[in-house]
């Protein structure tokens, strides 16, 4: 069984791809068949990923690899392959489970959209590409799937193509991630040049194994940083984070699946997968490439958390929180806590998908309104959504003991605290925890508490097809913590490949109280600040945010995303505009004249040749034409139309050949 599943892991991306193709051939009105096909494909891969999960449990550090030759050129063979190890297996489980919930949710959310069929085709396509990315045993195959998920993301962000903002956001996402992918591709080429293979594991010869790593030498740092460029783009890290909030223009299930739970985590997954390259030659667990990862992660985590406080769009708040959490994961990887980072990735996948679907439910209930200042008082109207949303909020804020996010965050703080070079990332992350609790409290107060405002007057609870995935994901967010606790750190041991252990005494530790205090502080601060949000308070009108009233300049700064988009527009985009304009002027004034000069010479020459042509050559040609015509008349006489004549001529030809033979002999 385990052999069979390793041999057939490739089916997992193949099934959604096949489903996608099948859906694309459906007529536009076949909503039911499209949904059935997509969900059936997703159920199939969920079952398969469960069976793929089983063999990895057999022994710590299990790794099943199958490689094959794609094509050979000269004596080089380009080999691809797939891998089944704990890292891949948990990702498969998370992606398929979250994916299934979101597929089901989409049936409700997208019902009535005229492009329903196309939506499910894209969604299945994305699912296949993402699964392919996770099981790749070759950096090249991973890159291919990486670009395919990028394509799927582009198609889905711009799904409502008739909205100019969606089209612009899709373009922005595609181009911004392309900048990172450029670096990734350069790193890939360099890695191939140095080690001669792109396979991760190949019986001791892969680029992540000792012989391959030994060949990298000093260039490992730069290769790692180039690969990290790709991760920065995909996972929305500073300075390429600008696309992710805009990507919320896509349908909410897409935001949940691609821009929160799975695809954006691919960058973190990539770093975890290529970790041996990052940590090559580490002294005390620190390399310069990992240090870069840490500082970028810290910057991103803190910056995004700050920006999230001042956003009014319900989805944008979550988008910035995603960016911030991804930064947290990057920090964890950078300081050496690969398992902690991956655990947070998985936990985040569940609760962030939950939050986004909750958002979707709220937007659906409020008839498309996304501004939290126009909502409020939704708690009694949407009880299921509220409860599940609260679970997601607490998991995201990192409330300890009962919520998965709490345990993983604690683990990350724990490893960060012991990072040798500096304690600064640790303190910044602590600040980030408080901020996270603060902005989530703000959001919940604005949306679910207080008076009903414009958009929530006629709100209603969503249909069961949408609330059921919410409940499933909420229970995942809670139950998942069972395998995360320090008392039984099963997932940690599973990922690091050490035998499982149980130490009940470790359940209670100082960090627990620390995070309890921090989260409590964040929530309390949030409640105090926003207790009268949305109502008139003293001199403050109802529609003004309390923070905006007290600190207008700070609020403007955060609301406008620290002016980073504007900065890019003034610098990079302005620079490319300028160079384009310069090239244009250069083209017009210099090259154009040069070409025109050559043209004039050509014209002169042409006039001359025309003269020669008319008087000399033309006459000759006329003569030749007449001759040809006469010859043609002569030849056409040979075509009698009599087949026997033709046959006779052939016989004469054979006779001539024979005579030629006789002459030779």
């Amino acid at each position: 069984m385990s052999r069979w599943i390793i041999d057939h892991v490739w089916l997992m991306p193949a099934v959604p791809f096949a489903a996608s193709l099948a859906i694309l051939t459906l007529p536009n009105r076949q909503h039911r068949s499209a949904a059935v096909l997509a969900v059936a494909g997703q159920i199939a891969v969920l079952i398969m990923s469960f069976f793929a999960f089983l063999p990895t449990l057999q022994a710590p550090g299990f790794r099943g690899v199958r490689n094959f030759t794609w094509f050979t050129f000269g004596d080089h063979a380009l080999r691809l392959g797939w891998i089944l190890d704990p890292l891949a297996a948990v990702m498969l489980m998370m992606i398929t489970l979250v994916g299934l919930c979101i597929f089901a949710f989409s049936i409700g959310y997208m019902a009535g959209d005229k492009n329903f069929v196309r939506f499910f085709a894209y969604l299945s396509f994305f699912s296949g590409a993402m699964l392919g990315l996770v099981i790749s045993n070759s950096l090249l195959l991973l890159f291919i799937c990486w670009e395919l998920v990028g394509l799927a993301s582009y198609l889905l962000i711009g799904f409502w193509i008739e909205r100019p903002s969606a089209a612009a956001a899709a373009k922005k996402a595609f181009i911004t991630t392309r900048i990172g992918d450029m670096g990734f591709f350069l790193g890939l080429l360099w890695l191939y040049g140095r080690s001669g293979t792109l396979l991760f594991y190949d019986g001791g010869n892969g680029c992540l194994e000792n012989t391959g790593l030994a060949m990298l030498g000093a260039s490992a740092t730069l290769i790692a940083l180039l690969i990290f460029c790709g991760a920065v783009g995909k996972s929305g890290q500073f300075p390429l984070h600008v696309w992710l909030p805009d990507a919320m223009e896509g349908p909410t299930p897409v935001s949940a699946l691609i821009h929160a739970a799975t695809m954006v985590a691919a960058g973190v997954f990539l770093v975890a997968r290529a970790y041996p390259i990052f940590s090559l030659g580490a002294i005390n667990g620190v390399t310069s490439s990992l240090a870069v990862v840490v500082w970028i992660g810290v910057t991103t985590a803190l910056m995004a958390a700050l920006i999230a406080i001042a956003q009014a769009d319900i989805k944008r708040i979550l988008a910035y929180s995603t960016v911030s959490q991804l930064g947290l994961m990057m920090v964890s990887l950078g300081v050496g806590g690969v398992a902690a980072g991956m655990m947070h990735l998985l936990a985040h996948g569940f609760f962030k998908a939950l939050l986004f679907l909750g958002t979707g439910s709220v937007i659906h209930g409020c008839h498309g309104e996304q501004d939290i200042r126009k909502m409020g008082g939704l708690r009694p109207l949407m009880p299921v959504t509220f409860l599940t949303y609260a679970v997601g909020m607490m998991a995201l804020s990192g409330v300890p003991l009962f919520f998965s996010g709490g345990w993983t965050k604690e683990e990350i703080l724990h490893v960060t605290a012991h990072w040798p070079p500096s304690r600064l990332p640790y303190y910044l992350l602590l600040a980030g925890v408080v901020l996270t609790a603060l902005y989530m409290t703000r959001q919940i107060i604005f949306v679910f508490f207080g008076d009903r405002r414009a958009a929530s007057r006629r709100a209603h609870e969503s249909p069961p097809v949408m609330t059921t995935p919410l409940v499933v994901l909420a229970s995942c967010a809670i139950l998942f913590s069972i395998v995360l606790t320090p008392a039984w750190p099963w997932l940690d041991d599973y990922l690091t490949g050490s035998p499982a252990r149980v130490e009940l005494a470790r359940l209670i530790q100082p960090a627990l109280f620390l995070s309890l205090v921090l989260v409590g502080a964040g929530v309390a601060l949030g409640i105090w600040m926003y207790r009268k949000a949305g109502v008139q308070d003293g001199r403050r009108p109802a529609e003004i945010d309390p923070l905006e009233f007290t600190q207008p300049q700070l609020f403007r700064f955060l609301e406008n995303k620290m002016w980073i988009d504007e900065l890019y527009a003034r610098t990079i985009i302005a620079f490319s505009w300028m160079s384009a304009r310069l090239s244009d002027r250069m083209d017009r004034s210099f090259w154009d004249r040069l070409v025109r000069g050559f043209g004039a010479i050509g014209q002169l020459f042409g006039t001359f040749t025309a003269k020669v042509d008319e008087s000399g050559i033309n006459a000759g040609v006329d003569e030749t034409t007449l001759g040809t015509r006469g010859l043609g008349r002569l030849m056409s006489a040979a075509h009698t139309g009599q087949i026997q004549t033709y046959l006779g001529v052939i016989a004469i030809g054979v006779l001539a050949l024979l005579l030629f033979y006789a002459w030779l002999a």
Binding site: Q644, G648, A651, I652, L655, L658, L659, Y661, A662
Partner: protein
Amino acid sequence: MSSVAFALITILTLAAALAAATLQNLMHATLSFAVTLVGVAALFFLLGAEFVGLVLVFVYVGAVAVLIVFTILLTRRDLGKDRGANFWGAVLAVGLFGGLTWAILKTPSVAIVAPHIRALTVKRIGEALMTGYVWPLQCVGLLLTAALIGALVLVMEEKR
């Protein structure tokens, strides 16, 4: 291989062939043509290719000759008209024959006696057809189908 039998068969075959080429009456010529092919089949037997000889008899004498007779009957009204023959064709053919004979006689490598004959059983032919020659076999099947359909389309009544 008996040379007497060979001589007899050869004379019969060539005589019938000449008759088929020169007889005025189309029906007689067709019958001579059938005799020619029987002679060729007999030569195949002499050469140890019994199966091919049988196929030749079945296909030509059994099918093609009958087909020709049918065609003659269907175009009967035209018979008897335009009996002329041009002689340059015959001259050319005789010349070609002379040239070929001369070339054959000049080539020393074809003046060989047959080696020991190993019987070619139908089983071996069948095996060869079903293994190495299976693609040509399928193609010929397709060709025959196409030819059949084409022939039917050609002889269908033209629409008025």
